[in-house]
Subunit: 549 residues, 2 copies
């Protein structure tokens, strides 16, 4: 039996394009002699469709699409994922399901049993867990079909009290197929391989695993579909961050062979390389799927906006990126020169708009109210917000989307101006620590200097007052980033972090800043998620409370 694995980029709620893409790949698979073609979890509607799953019409459109797909499968079988109604009068209204389609009809349905409901996942919000399992017979093979998290219950640390494969294995399947929507984080590829390998070994069965690819606003899916033999050995790995279809022969003794050159990665990609590829896909899909072409951003001469500009130029083409220099009286000459050099290196569009007259007008207008009071954060923020108003005016006039250039370290401690530099349609590096931004800049420059060396080596500064440096208000970034990671990703208490050897006063101050910035982060753009714990939908904190410190 020849099985095609199709890892494709779906568009949430775009039934027309998703259905057309699935049918196209059924035709391709047929032409290549496949008996069965396997698509990813919830491919019909896209993952995550979120509260659109609560609309009856949305669920009906899923079924209509599935019927169109079934009509195409007269001489080839396929597996597709879609939400289906729970007909019992109890529990949630839907299942997260897989259709096994053969001879133009739905021959079998598998429902997901283990529903992730942590970090960015909300599956209990919509779905009832399945309690019934059975294998599917096809062409002399018996398939144990499961959906993503169904294989994610580890022996050491079981997240769930049941394990669907423990039930399915009693029917003596000779192969496992798992369809998934497993979002990207720079370390998640290795975790996936480990958990899936463990399943293949535990059940002594080969395993074919199909993942989604493509970005859905903040969530990036990296593909990298996987094939294991019954010893748990990874025998093939489909490409990461791109659409692909590949063919595998399931032989009589349930061994797997394939004819194409193996795409197994020779070595693990570095974290930064993965982050780079993830962000490029994230930007591209955000623009493509929302029907926009051109980005705008403010270029300060600093490293963050330089990196975002370079990434945007790579993702959208430099001709679609408008970089705006917005110097104030505090902008240093080298900053302006660094920004100009970057624009030259990239070949993107650019404008220079000085903000002096505007900030003067704000200060003059407010002089009756601010009379006698010293320059402080109010005036600093006026600069940042004036820039945002200018950039948004350009968006409104010309149809750009503003890219946010805040990094994760700033987002964590609230080192940014709400309605100022925290604006944007999408945050490009909001899940990348400042120390990683430096690495990313070096990575972008690996073949030629794109980001001016000076932007990389000079001390970071917001340039909102004379001679300001980030380290005036914050610890050095190498210390700051580690404390933030311990608190945000490790969920460690200040006591624990202090015990690790960090300065007590610094730790307490950083954690306090992280907590106090919740109200700011609540109003920031969606952040492209590249780490296991990004700010946004995967981290849900109270705004008004008294916090740990």
């Amino acid at each position: 039996m020849k099985i095609a694995l199709a890892q494709l980029n779906y568009h949430i709620g775009n039934f027309e394009s998703n259905t057309a893409k699935i049918i196209d790949h059924i035709k391709i698979a047929r032409k290549n002699g496949a008996d069965l073609v396997v698509f990813a979890e919830l491919c019909v509607c896209g993952y995550p469709s979120r509260d659109f799953l609560e609309f009856d019409e949305f669920i009906e459109l899923c079924e209509t699409s599935a019927q169109k797909i079934a009509a195409e499968c007269t001489d080839i079988a396929c597996i597709i994922g879609l939400p289906t109604p729970n007909d019992k009068n109890e529990g949630k209204e839907l299942f997260n399901s897989a259709y096994f389609i053969e001879n133009g009809k739905v021959k079998a349905i598998a429902h997901k049993a283990l529903l992730p409901n942590y970090d960015i996942f909300d599956e209990y919000r919509y779905f009832e867990p399945s309690t019934e399992f059975s294998c599917i017979d096809f062409k002399g093979h018996r398939i144990a079909l499961t959906i993503c998290e169904d294989l994610w219950n580890t022996i050491e640390n079981p997240l769930y009290v049941t394990r669907p494969m423990d039930i399915l294995i009693e029917e003596k399947p000779d192969v496992m197929i798992n369809i998934a929507a497993s979002p990207f984080a720079y370390n998640h590829d290795e975790e996936r391989i480990e958990i899936l390998s463990d399943n293949a070994k535990r059940y002594n069965l080969p395993l074919l695993y199909v993942n989604n690819i493509g970005a859905q606003t903040e969530l990036i899916f990296d593909g990298g579909s996987l094939v294991f033999d019954n010893t748990g050995k990874l025998i093939d790995e489909m490409p990461y961050f791109e659409e692909s279809i590949a063919y595998y022969n399931l032989n009589e003794k349930a061994t797997i062979t394939f004819e194409h050159p193996s795409t197994l990665r020779k070595e693990k990609q570095s974290d930064i390389e993965q982050i780079h590829r993830g962000i490029i896909l994230g930007i591209r899909d955000y623009f493509y799927k929302s029907g926009f072409k051109q980005a705008i951003l403010g270029l300060s001469g600093g490293i963050d906006s330089a990196v975002v500009c370079a990434l945007a130029a790579e993702a959208l083409g430099p001709e679609n990126v408008m970089a705006v220099l917005l110097p104030s009286r505090f902008s240093s000459d080298h900053s302006i020169k660094d920004a100009e050099d970057l624009v030259k290196n990239l070949g993107c569009m650019h404008e220079t708009i000085a903000i002096k007259d505007i900030t003067n007008a704000f200060e003059a207008t407010l002089s009756p109210q601010f009379k006698g009071l010293p320059f402080n954060i109010a005036e600093e923020n006026i600069q940042s917000r004036s820039r945002a108003v200018l950039l948004m005016a350009m968006c409104n006039k010309f149809g750009y989307i503003l890219l946010n250039t805040s990094n994760k370290s700033e987002a964590a401690v609230g080192y940014g101006t709400l309605y100022g530099d925290m604006c944007g349609g999408i945050s490009v590096i909001g899940d990348v620590y400042k120390t990683q931004v430096f690495e990313l800049a070096r990575h972008i420059n690996k073949d030629r200097e794109i980001i001016p060396e000076n932007s990389i080596i000079k001390p970071p500064s917001a340039e909102l007052r004379p001679n300001q440096k980030d380290t005036d208000s914050l610890p050095e970034y190498d210390v700051l980033d580690k404390i933030i990671a311990e608190y945000v990703e490790g969920r460690s208490s200040s006591a624990t972090i202090i015990k690790m050897g960090y300065d007590e006063k610094t730790v307490r101050r950083v954690i306090r800043l992280v907590n106090l910035a919740e109200h700011k982060r609540y109003q920031t753009p969606p952040i492209l998620r590249v780490s296991p714990k990004a700010f946004g939908m995967g981290r849900r904190m109270p705004i008004v409370g008294k916090y740990l410190s």
Copy 2:
């Protein structure tokens, strides 16, 4: 046996103040001869503590507080709610639990079985559902103790496949106690009474129900704890929107009597009266719990900002409200006069800051880029955003929190400027439709004219271009609000709404606008929730997708 029900206002993560408040009320209950005092769900840490529940330290602090409370209970019993670790090595790490404390010790623990995971609820994110249930014997009575949602599984439309009371009833309890954190919506009080009454009748047992009160950022808890006899008759109702303690005698035949004058409401409060009280509590707790005192807002002369100003003055005192008139060249004379009249009626602080010089500076600065292009939404938004920069500068200089004045109709269709009038720390009327804002204004004016009649009767306008009216771009609000409600709250498709008799073109346009505004709503402040379906944490939609229409 005398049972005290204590409905109190907790502060998330403020273990010190929550514990002190609980202990104070144990002392008060003891002084009043109570045998048992019952506090609300998760009272120890506050509800919803959200992802703080993922911090080990947070859970340890809950247990430490519980032990302090237990030490106080040497001669009185109490029931408190807190998260507790799940000791089994499978499933989620926590239970949502109730401690029954007697003789200074935890005598029994009940875990919640039915975990709401819809709308604003995320309980499966943290908690494992309980599968074991047993009653608690105390002073000759047998108590069936459950937690909130445990009683929420209706016969007609069961949300869950189990029903804890069906198991507990086999131990022949003579009373039910339920501790809850049931958030306010203007129609939720009646639903609660109906469901709880149904439980009392079904199990033929009296029922004492203790709810939380107080606002936690966007979520408002309205109290209104309830006592039913075994026929399902509501025999007492504690006050709404305020802290309270009340005493009930559970007699030998499990009948309930009480000595205080009944606080059973003679008639249902109107929706608008409830919304009014809910918002006042919401504003007050937002400021109090975040340690701020003073609010600022922009006053346009229109009804929305007038209503918000009046509500803020009531919640915080007029001396703590700064109303800023920010006229532009498009502001009409009557708008300025209406705003001035309001300020006079309320006696709040006020400033007038004309934005002309600032918008002129923006337009002059952008003239090279905008040369030859007509005035459009770019210039309109510059006005709105200039006002936001001014208001935020006042916040930064003087320590105000900016109140957002958008209503639900605007929030729905995106009729507002991101980083302009959509700014603010908290959205006061973002869950109140424009048609309800008019009702709210009338309600506020019921004793004397606070909101100038002219603000109520004139046609709504954003005044961002000459002679602009909302109805230039939007349908009449009475039609618009109904279509939005059908789509957002009813989750009806356009086809269904059109079948109800609404104009097809209007319906499709409104739904399209609602969908397109997702990216704006993502970045708006938390919205005080007063309806069963508010924008914010209870409605989670994709931003980039192709939508229903």
